[in-house]
């Protein structure tokens, strides 16, 4: 049975192996210069400002391959579900070959077990290899990525570490299950894609933030967590609150609000909130005092009792979240696999 499964899978498995080898070769060849660039650039910059400039420069240089590598890792599980999962059973049902193979001296449970096991193992291994290779390659870039492309940001998180293993297992099991229920290849592929995409969108938006209860804290206003200060025409002073958290670089910020002294939210991430009691004609926040972020203006805002209140997942939770998320997907995959076995014994004829 292993021979037959391999014989049926051989063509596409070799093709996938070649593509993966190509990917690993490209990453391997470009990865070392990238790491060297990063190391030398970091050694050259001495002050914080300079280093920020270097990070920006490095990220700009590699932005396109960086995004492409993320795309590859995110798409691979979907493609595996579509082209390996969905047709695994439907192809047999459509050609009636299940009637041929089920009448050899092998139970259909064993037939399914070998097909699922071998194909699934290769699928997971392929996605895992791609994920880990890209994680290694993009290490320096993940250190220099700006907000929105940091390691904990949803898109990047999904393309790093061990999560792609879980996605591949789930996508494959989903494809097989949908194929078994729908019994026709094309509709099964379409449905698999729709369900997988929906899950992949719902996971980071609705589930991942709560896999570990997020941390909530209040922080003093400073240069890091503000996007700007402004004086309105009517003489009021406002603060545009940012998404960064002082002392927690790289955290995944779920909410960042400007709160007044009573703890009431007056502005959310990216919006401007009016800070009452700040003099715009004299003192540290007046135009005459120079750029507000550089002088005592933030201290003045803090003195008045305004704070940033943020909910976030700190970067230290990257691996715990990776493990939990992979576990969740593995559970999905296990449930679907169980359904497949139940269905093939009870219902599929």
């Amino acid at each position: 049975m292993i021979w037959l499964t391999w014989r049926q899978l051989r063509g596409s498995a070799i093709m996938l192996a070649i593509l993966l080898a190509l990917l690993v070769a490209i990453l391997g060849l470009t990865g070392s210069p990238l790491a060297a660039d990063y190391a030398s650039g970091l050694a050259a910059c001495t002050r914080g400002e300079e280093c920020l400039g270097f990070y920006d420069q490095l990220f700009d240089d590699y932005e396109i391959p960086f995004l492409a590598s993320i795309l590859v890792v995110l798409l691979l599980p979907a493609l595996i579900g579509l082209f390996w999962g969905a047709p695994l059973i439907t192809r047999e049902l459509e050609a009636d070959t299940h009637l041929l193979v089920w009448n050899q001296s092998i139970t259909r449970t064993r037939w399914l077990a070998v097909k699922l096991g071998l194909t699934g193992l290769l699928a997971v291994a392929a996605a895992g290899l791609a994920g880990l290779a890209v994680t290694w390659w993009s290490g320096p870039l993940d250190q220099s990525a700006p907000q929105g492309f940091a390691l904990m940001d949803p898109l990047v998180f999904s393309a790093r570490g061990i999560a792609p293993l879980g996605y591949a297992a789930f996508a494959f099991a989903l494809g097989v299950t949908v194929g078994m229920l729908v019994r026709r290849t094309l509709p099964a592929m379409a449905l698999t894609l729709v369900i997988f995409a929906a899950v992949q969108i719902a996971m980071p938006m609705l589930v991942r933030p709560h896999l570990i209860p997020p941390v909530t804290g209040t922080f003093e206003i400073g240069q890091e967590n503000t996007d700007g200060f402004g004086i309105n025409r009517d003489g009021t002073f406002d603060v545009r609150i940012g998404a960064a958290i002082p002392g927690h670089a790289g955290a995944w910020v779920l909410a960042s609000d400007l709160v007044d002294p009573s703890g009431r939210t007056i502005a959310s991430n990216g919006a401007e909130g009016v800070v009452k009691g700040v003099s715009t004609t004299s003192g540290p926040c007046a135009p005459a005092a120079g750029p507000p972020s550089a002088n005592g203006c933030p201290a003045e805002v803090n003195r008045l009792g305004y704070r940033q209140k943020a909910t976030y997942q700190p970067i230290e939770r990257f691996w715990p979240l990776q493990w939990i998320e992979t576990g969740v997907y593995a559970l999905f995959a296990a449930g679907l696999t169980w359904l497949c076995f139940w269905w093939i014994r009870r219902r599929l004829t």
């Binding site: 041929l100 001296s105 092998i106 139970t107 064993r110």
Partner: protein, 296 residues
């Protein structure tokens, strides 16, 4: 000798429709059994139940004394060639034989190779490129080389041209002569079965209408032609299979073990085809009621 197939009140329902119902048969071993009926009469359902592809909705079925399709050992004893003789289009003939060798403990590799060579099939050819007849022969080879005690074939020749049809049945006959095993094959054409079957089951309207040795069936069925007579006035031992009437004349097909002495009847023997047609024409109880209502 044990029965190859025993069914007790066997039934299979799809949704509300019974594909097969109240099927009670007992097929002794060592026969080539023909299963004949209209398209959709339940032939495929019965064969799939026997091979374990389907689970019965009602009743019991045992094949060679075991539950169909239950364990690898049972699967090894029963061969099944599905309708339209499916094969893996991307695999070569030789790879199909390898598949058989890998998946069957009792695989007869020498026989399979020899048969493929005798048929003139190119082992390196992909099954997708074979003609319908060649593919059917490949499927038959897989079924035979498995060395089953019972080989089930579901409409194996339905899509073949007359020449390929004859060659296929010829090959099957030779194999049954060479190796001792029972065969059940279905067809909606009696002419296919007449040549090779010595046991016949007629399925119609999801029910088994008659089952038995071909010789015995032919010996116990007669066509009676004579002056018009009501079926109620026939002797008790004569079971009417079908009856047709004109104003003055009645024609019956009856089943009886006793000889027919009534001088009013002209008694003729039936061909197997006539016999099968008589059973397939047999109106169902519901149809008969409808007919009576129209006549009133």
């Amino acid at each position: 000798m044990t029965a190859v197939l025993q069914a007790q009140g066997l039934g299979k329902r799809y949704g509300k429709r019974w594909a097969l119902r109240e099927c009670t048969i007992d097929i002794p071993a060592g026969h080539v059994v023909g299963l004949v009926g209209h398209n959709g009469a339940g032939k495929t359902t019965l064969l799939k139940l026997a091979s374990g592809q389907l689970e019965p909705t009602a009743g019991d079925i045992t094949v060679l004394g075991g539950r169909p399709g239950d364990r690898p050992a049972q699967l090894a004893r029963v061969g099944f060639v599905a309708q339209d003789t499916p094969a893996y289009a991307g695999l070569t003939v030789a790879e199909h034989l390898r598949l058989g060798a890998r998946l069957n403990p009792r695989w007869d590799a020498a026989m399979a190779r020899e048969r493929i060579a005798r048929l003139g099939l190119d082992p390196t050819q992909r099954a997708g490129k074979l003609s319908g007849g060649q593919r059917a022969q490949l499927a038959l080879t897989l079924g035979l080389a498995k060395r089953p005690e019972l080989l089930i074939l579901d409409e194996p020749v339905a899509s073949l041209d007359p020449l390929a049809r004859r060659e296929f049945l010829q090959g099957l006959m030779e194999a049954t002569a060479e190796h001792e095993f029972s065969v059940v094959l279905s067809s909606h054409l009696v002419s296919d079965l007449e040549r090779i079957c010595d046991y016949l089951i007629v399925l119609s309207d999801s029910r088994v209408q008659v089952a038995g040795n071909v010789d015995r069936l032919l010996a116990t069925h007669h066509r009676l032609t004579g002056p018009r007579r009501d079926p109620d006035r026939l002797p008790a031992g004569q079971h009417v299979v079908s009856g047709r009437h004109t104003d003055r004349q009645s024609t019956y097909v009856v089943r009886t073990d006793a000889p027919i002495h009534d001088p009013a009847w002209t008694v003729t023997r039936l061909s197997l085809e006539d016999l099968v047609l008589a059973y397939m024409d047999k109106p169902t109880a519901a149809d008969r009621r409808a007919l009576l209502e129209v006549q009133r």
